[in-house]
């Protein structure tokens, strides 16, 4: 009977439905040795000298498609180990950034285990169902929201942290809610989002809502305009991005304004801006520059590095990538706070080992200290040297 049913089901799928399924993923292990910043020891009670830190993380991504609809899920696991956890030092939060794998979180869908010197997280950071039609697309569940050109700072998208400066790159943040995309024309697309978040109050109490619109309009061959408007994290927000393409390069600008909290909690308005430049200099050398300003949130809690990683208020960042061999890529990124003089250098050297496996040597080095009135997060930046091994399947 079961065999007949399975035969019928198989026949039905083949006859009436286009069925497709796929599983993929990646696994990465990292080890680093870290030296503490003297200012962090004195001013921020981070009284440690040097420590080792180990991290292993991975994604398992699954997709099932039937005709015009699709179910997608991603399971993210991360385990880290270091003596720094024993005294709740902040540095591990930098090493594992982004710490929040779900930016707007109603359903939790995660398990965390903290023991003396290690942390383990198991998270379903993507789980959604999608219906795809000719001119629109509808998604419900835990979704990735990924737009905006900033790789180091991307203020118009509060739902996914850029990973240009972080050690974890194979990750996107999930968001719980609904997304309706309307493809108005070849040149104009509008995304509507209704999201919720309970994680701010530890999954207790009411859901903080997000009502968000993102539009993308291609004015001409060279000019594109994005806008965002909505209410998110108890603030009204309004922002835009303009991109202009030359034959040789691309220039883009973003700005985002955030009002006070709408529920009269103590706060002040925030605003961010950035300008970026991107060029392929020669066929093996790519350069990107981003500079801008992020207003310091005086009410933010330094102990929860959950929202922003960029350790500067005014910043200029220059990222170079050079392919010295088809197997070997070298990346160097300088981030400078033009106000305080703080300068941070990130170097990565990636070796392709074949069979979808690569090794990386990396270094995170604060090469110039900021002055004592600078952005507090600058003092938390440690000097690190480490290695990573990653594989894709």
């Amino acid at each position: 009977m079961i065999a007949i049913f399975l035969l019928f089901l198989s026949f039905s799928f083949k006859t009436f439905a286009k069925f497709d399924a796929d599983i993929s993923g990646n696994l990465e292990g990292q080890g680093r040795h870290s030296w503490n910043n003297e200012d962090a020891k004195k001013d921020l009670m981070q009284d440690w000298d040097d420590e080792d830190f180990y991290l292993i993380y991975g994604n398992l991504d699954g997709k099932v498609e039937i005709n015009g609809s699709r179910l997608e899920a991603n399971f993210f696991a991360r385990h880290s180990k270091s003596d720094l956890y024993e005294n709740d030092y902040i540095a591990p939060q930098i090493f594992t950034f982004p710490n929040k794998l779900v930016a707007r979180d109603v359903f939790k869908l995660q398990h965390k285990k903290e023991v003396q010197d290690s942390r383990t997280e198991l998270i379903l950071n993507k789980l959604y169902y999608e219906w795809d039609y000719e001119e629109h697309r509808f998604m419900v569940g835990r979704i990735y929201i990924n737009y905006g050109l900033g790789e180091i700072f991307n203020p118009i998208n509060p739902f996914n942290q850029p990973t240009g400066l972080t050690a974890i790159s194979q990750v996107a943040q999930g968001n719980d809610g609904f997304n309706f995309t309307f493809f108005v024309s070849d040149k104009y697309t509008v995304d509507f989002f209704l999201l919720g978040d309970k994680s701010v109050n530890g999954y207790e109490g009411q859901i903080d809502r997000t009502l968000w619109v993102h539009g993308e309009y291609q004015f001409s061959d060279k000019l594109q305009f994005d806008y965002v408007i909505g209410e998110d994290q108890k603030r009204d927000k309004l922002g835009a991005q303009v991109r202009y393409s030359f034959t040789e390069a691309m220039v883009f600008m973003q700005t985002l304004f955030q009002t006070d909290y709408v529920n009269n909690e103590e706060s002040h308005p925030l605003w961010d801006m950035m300008i970026g430049y991107d060029q392929q200099i020669i066929n093996k050398w790519h350069i990107r520059a981003e500079g801008g300003y992020q207003k310091l949130n005086r009410y933010a809690n330094l102990n929860t590095l959950s929202e922003r990683f960029l350790p500067t208020e005014y910043f200029i960042a220059i990222a170079n990538q050079y392919e010295i061999h088809p197997l070997v890529k070298i990346t160097g990124t300088f981030v400078n706070d033009v106000k305080s003089g703080f300068t941070y250098f990130i170097a990565r050297n990636t070796f392709d080992l074949g069979h979808s496996t690569e090794a990386e040597i990396f270094g995170y080095i604060p090469v110039a200290k900021g002055d004592k009135f600078s952005y507090p997060a600058q003092k938390l930046v440690t000097t690190d040297i480490g290695m990573a091994l990653r594989t894709f399947f």
Partner: protein, 247 residues
């Protein structure tokens, strides 16, 4: 069917013999044969150095020289990465992170996935027939085989990467067997060798392309056309951002 195309080549090449200076017509013929108006290709690319090699499988859809969409099918690390080009605008899409990234058109000259081909080669952003002026130079014999040689010089208004390309074409089937690419200083930078001609939908196409950079004799990239469909019927929104992100 074979007879039909054999006759077409003979007629064309005889006509060319009668009008030996018509290098532009020759280039148009090559474009028509190898590009067509629309095509869908399944390609295997192998990047080789003495101690290492890497193979990628790609699907590439092209319509004219204005629209192209490529998808990487393997290896696992790059699987699903798509590139859409509409005129001078390019976007990459990374399905695992659901990230669509607009890229500078200067990326057309970037190495494609570490190979000796550029984005421009893969996305067929330029057309030899339309973007270059053509003239014959004296025939050349290479390893016992005589080739018709066409010097292609970029038109002043053309947005192309190579100011000069020299075509070495077979006088038998009129298709190219070598392209030599020169930079602004007239220095030879790379050579593309084409071989193993097969017929797909009435179009003759060299199915083995080997790109050899001039400054590194130990490295090369080989493309094998596993399958090619000409005049494919794409959906009206095939070359759109909606389709780019539907993976």
């Amino acid at each position: 069917m074979f007879k039909q195309f054999f006759r077409k080549d003979i007629v064309f090449c005889l006509a060319l013999g009668a009008n030996a200076n018509n290098a532009t017509e020759w280039s148009k013929f090559i474009d028509r044969e190898m590009r067509g108006d629309r095509s869908h290709a399944e390609i295997m690319m192998t990047i080789e150095t003495p101690n290492w090699s890497r193979t990628l499988e790609i699907e590439s859809d092209v319509e004219g020289k204005k629209q192209a969409l490529s998808t990487i099918n393997s290896p696992a690390k790059e699987k699903g990465i798509r590139t859409l080009r509409i005129e001078n605008n390019m976007w990459n899409y990374f399905p695992k992170l659901k990230r669509k990234v607009a890229v500078s058109s200067s990326m057309l000259l970037a190495s494609w996935m570490g190979s000796d081909f550029t984005n421009e080669d893969i996305l067929k952003a330029s057309s030899m027939a339309e973007d270059y002026e053509h003239k014959f130079v004296p025939n050349q014999k290479i390893e016992g085989t005589e080739y018709r040689v066409i010097e292609n010089t970029a038109k002043s208004e053309a947005k192309v990467m190579w100011p000069k390309i020299v075509t070495y074409a077979s006088p038998v089937d009129c298709l190219p067997r070598q392209y030599r690419y020169y930079d602004k200083q007239e220095k030879l930078k790379r050579v593309l060798y084409l071989d193993d001609v097969k017929t797909f939908d009435g179009h003759k196409l060299p199915t083995k392309w080997v790109m050899q950079p001039e400054n590194n004799a130990k490295k090369k990239t080989t493309i094998i056309y596993k399958n090619m469909k000409f005049n494919s019927s794409f959906k009206p929104n095939h070359f759109s951002q909606k389709n780019l992100t539907d993976y």
